[in-house]
């Protein structure tokens, strides 16, 4: 019953999306449009909740539930398993699309009927594409006979709270750019777009998308840090890149929108960026789901899905970019900026973000290009990105410290020097202090630390001076970037790694900490068995600071082994320990990491998120009524 109902709701949302497309295109009455929009929202939400229900009651007559769930799974993970697989996550993607669709609909007022209708038309086209894709190639309500006793369970490394909320947040980010895309295309179609404040409508959507994309990426990275047990938090995996590229363009977009709002220049550029940001989001989906490349994230291989998404991207991209090349001319202006001004600094930021994005894109598709041309497989990894993207981003960070305190228009170099001199001195002092503690010097390391303090103190003084005002969101977000930068740099240059074989009751040392292997126990978890090591950490004065308990888990249902790192965190460092293979006679392989200041990465990301939320609030208040 419920599966049929879910399927029906999915088909119904297809009908409503079609009707929204037709009625907005024909510019029919608002009432008819509103029925489609609300019908679409309700039917897609309904099918989504039905799927959740099917997971909760473990209905194994449904193929998707059978493949991804199991009765022994805790309730919370039964629910999150809904979007832990391809079909279910497409449904999540669709409901996020329809929710944004509803918010666009909410923009209607007396003056903007044509503009909002056009935006809704584009948005419903995108929604249609994804619903058709889901129904044809990835229907989560597909039944199976005979009905099975129990499910296959799902990948245990996905059974984790951070990962449970990572996809929804990421999708709000990706899909949020769809609204910006629709607004951009609608503007290009519009005859008098130049005089219409379309950017004011676009801004809150971009803000929301970017803010949630930021926290979504951060959570994914946090998960990788403690779950994969490699001691790192970013691996330049193609799918990580797929989320990082829209983020870079989103960052450029966010900042350019400020200029458009203030000066009405850069309009053509913003229209292009918003198109590209969404296209890159969909390309990301393509990369994950088509099986064109391998990655820890990749879903099941299925070429028909790939062809379908590719076709859809070709239509979206072909239409929007063609429109851009023919219609964007009227939006270009010949306003030149002064370099030492707020708009000058934003422009430089823009160029850097776009160049960084292009570099990541090149690194991601170059192996595919080479394979297509020569048939040889090559792989591009960390060294490429570390030696290209990192130096590209450094100047952006430098400017970020100064940009916000510059004025619009023009400013003399002397004025700037006056504004920043005190911060400059604090930064130098802090850098000297921190390097006297850690005593390891590399050029990039010093540059990173100096810049991190530079931003942190610049923004802290601004925050202190201005109290709460219009710019608070931005200042908080920038402060977050400073923290992030501090964490990234410190944990990259000062990480200490030890891999040793340890017997029970033996002892080792990592960076002034004594680690004592106390005992090892077998533990029975909710749906796994585990071997848990018990390690005691002493400091120099022989005081116990922490008990670390890394585990090796075995999930009998899927037959997977996972290792759970155990981490002791404080504001200055993480002690990170992973239990490897071994036995009682020969001891166990143990990996130990000393990761300085790594917690500041997550504090930074959360601070950025907070800044984003404050700014969303502000920009919603400034929407045209």
């Amino acid at each position: 019953m419920a599966p049929t109902l879910g399927n029906l709701a999915l088909w119904l949302s297809l009908v409503f999306a079609g009707s929204q497309f037709y009625n907005t295109r024909k510019k029919n009455k608002l009432k008819i449009i509103s029925i489609s929009v609300i019908g679409l929202l309700i039917s897609s939400l309904f099918s989504f909740f039905l799927l959740i229900y099917l997971y909760v009651i473990s209905d194994f007559s449904v193929l998707n539930v059978f493949q991804n769930s199991h009765t022994t799974k805790p309730l919370f993970y039964k629910i999150t398993a809904v979007w832990g697989n391809h079909e279910g996550s497409m449904l999540l993607w669709i409901i996020v699309l329809t929710i944004f669709n509803y918010f666009i609909f909410k923009l209607y007022n007396k003056k903007n009927f044509i503009f909002v209708s056009k935006t809704l038309e584009i948005q419903s086209f995108i929604t249609l594409g994804f619903i058709v894709f889901t129904i044809l190639t990835s229907n989560p309500f597909e039944r199976m006979v005979p009905v099975q006793e129990n499910g296959l369970g799902f990948n245990p490394i996905l059974q984790d709270p951070a990962l449970a909320i990572h996809p929804p947040l990421l999708y709000i980010g990706y899909v949020g750019f769809s609204a910006a895309f629709s607004i951009s295309v609608a503007t290009l179609v519009l005859k008098n777009g130049k005089n219409f404040p379309w950017y004011k409508y676009m801004k809150p959507f971009v803000m929301v998308a970017w803010t949630f994309l930021t926290i979504g990426i951060a959570l994914g990275s946090l998960w990788a840090y403690y779950e994969l047990g490699w001691g790192g938090w970013w691996f330049w995996d193609p799918v990580e890149n797929a989320s990082f590229m829209p983020w870079l363009l989103g960052t450029a977009l966010l900042h350019s929108l400020i200029i458009v709002d203030k000066k009405q220049s850069l309009q053509a550029w913003v229209l292009l960026l918003s198109i590209l940001a969404f296209l890159l989001s969909v390309v990301g989906t393509f990369l994950v789901r088509s099986g064109i490349l391998t990655s820890v994230h990749a879903f099941a291989l299925d070429p028909t899905r790939g062809i379908y998404i590719l076709l859809f991207i070709a239509i979206l991209g072909g239409y929007s970019l063609m429109l851009f090349s023919s219609k964007s001319k009227i939006y270009s202006t010949k306003n030149y900026f002064n370099f030492f001004s707020k708009e000058g600094s934003i422009l430089v930021n823009n160029i850097i973000m776009v160049v960084a994005c292009a570099t990541v894109l090149l690194g991601t598709i170059y192996p595919l290009l080479m394979e297509a041309l020569t048939g040889n497989k090559i792989s591009i990894g960390e060294p490429y990105y570390n030696s290209t993207v990192v130096p590209i981003m450094l100047p952006a960070i430098l400017i970020m410290g100064v940009g916000p305190i510059l004025s619009w228009g023009k400013e003399s170099v002397l004025e700037i020097a006056k504004k920043v001199s005190s911060v400059f001195i604090i930064t130098l002092a802090m850098t000297i202090i921190i390097f006297s503690i850690y005593k390891s010097y590399t050029f990039l390391g010093i540059a990173g630390i100096v810049l991190a303090f530079w931003i942190i103190f610049n923004n802290l003084t601004t925050l202190y001076r201005n109290k709460f005002n219009n710019l608070t969101g931005m200042v908080v977000a920038h402060l977050g970037v400073g923290f992030l930068m501090l964490g990234i740099t410190a944990s990259s240059i000062w990480q200490v790694e030890e891999i040793i074989k340890m017997k029970l009751k033996s002892e080792t040392e990592i960076n002034k900490y004594q680690i004592f292997f106390n005992e090892i126990n077998e533990i029975k978890g909710s749906n796994y068995l585990s071997l848990r090591g018990d390690f005691l950490v002493y400091d120099k004065g022989k005081n116990i600071i922490a008990k670390l308990k890394p585990e090796n888990r075995f999930y009998p249902v899927t037959g997977n082994f996972t290792s759970e790192a155990s981490i002791h965190t404080n504001l200055f460092r993480d002690l990170y320990i992973v239990l490897g293979e071994g036995n009682i006679n020969e001891g166990w392989t143990v990996r130990l990491y000393y990761n300085p200041l790594v917690v500041w990465i997550w504090i930074g990301a959360f601070t950025i998120f907070l800044g984003g939320v404050i700014s969303i609030n502000k920009s919603l208040k400034r929407m045209p009524k």
Binding site: I292, G306, I307, A314, G317, S328, K329, I365
Partner: protein
């Protein structure tokens, strides 16, 4: 000039899409790591055998019939996981199976094979991992198929799964 510049995004866009499309329609496996030795002769090596500690010479072992070569060790979990499949190959008797015991303790290996069953017609010892280097082994387990003229026809990195098991069977039929 300006107009051309505006067309740049769309041109780049379609070039990228075209590459994706091409890679989707051609027959390829993104997880497959190509072997530099594919379609080349088996590397020549001499070592000791596991059970009887006799001389093991590659030129004598390979090249008279279709052979499956499996790099394994007792300390490697995936090797244990795939062992059932190697046993299946041995019970089907379509193919000669040679094991190469990688960086392992011979005594333990003999025990291990007693416990889990011994599918190998012969096991060569690769105590310091030198043979594995010659074969370009990434990480064990790895499995190679060699035809009756001693030429490497297939390589699989990682444990044998039901899918790979089927594939190897097809390949065996093909080269026989």
């Amino acid at each position: 000039m300006k107009n051309k510049f505006l067309k740049l995004p769309i041109i780049l866009f379609f070039i990228i899409l075209f590459i994706f499309f091409y890679l989707l329609i051609i027959d390829r496996n993104p997880a497959k790591v190509p072997s530099a030795l594919l379609n080349k002769n088996v590397p020549i090596f001499v070592t000791k055998t596991l059970v009887k500690n006799e001389k093991f010479s590659s030129s004598k072992e390979f090249g008279d019939q279709v052979t499956l070569v499996n790099f394994f060790a007792t300390w490697c979990k995936p090797c244990k996981d795939e062992h059932a499949f190697i046993m299946r190959f041995s019970s089907e008797k379509n193919i000669k199976i040679v094991g190469i015991n990688y960086k392992d303790n011979p005594k333990k290996t003999i025990e291990w094979l007693k416990k889990l069953g011994n599918p190998y017609s012969n096991v060569a010892l690769d105590k310091n991992g030198k043979i594995a280097i010659d074969w370009g082994v990434y990480g064990i387990p790895e499995t190679f198929i060699i035809n009756s003229r001693g030429i490497i026809k297939y390589r699989h990195v990682g444990a044998i799964t039901p899918k790979i098991y089927k594939k190897i069977n097809l390949i065996i039929k093909e080269i026989e």
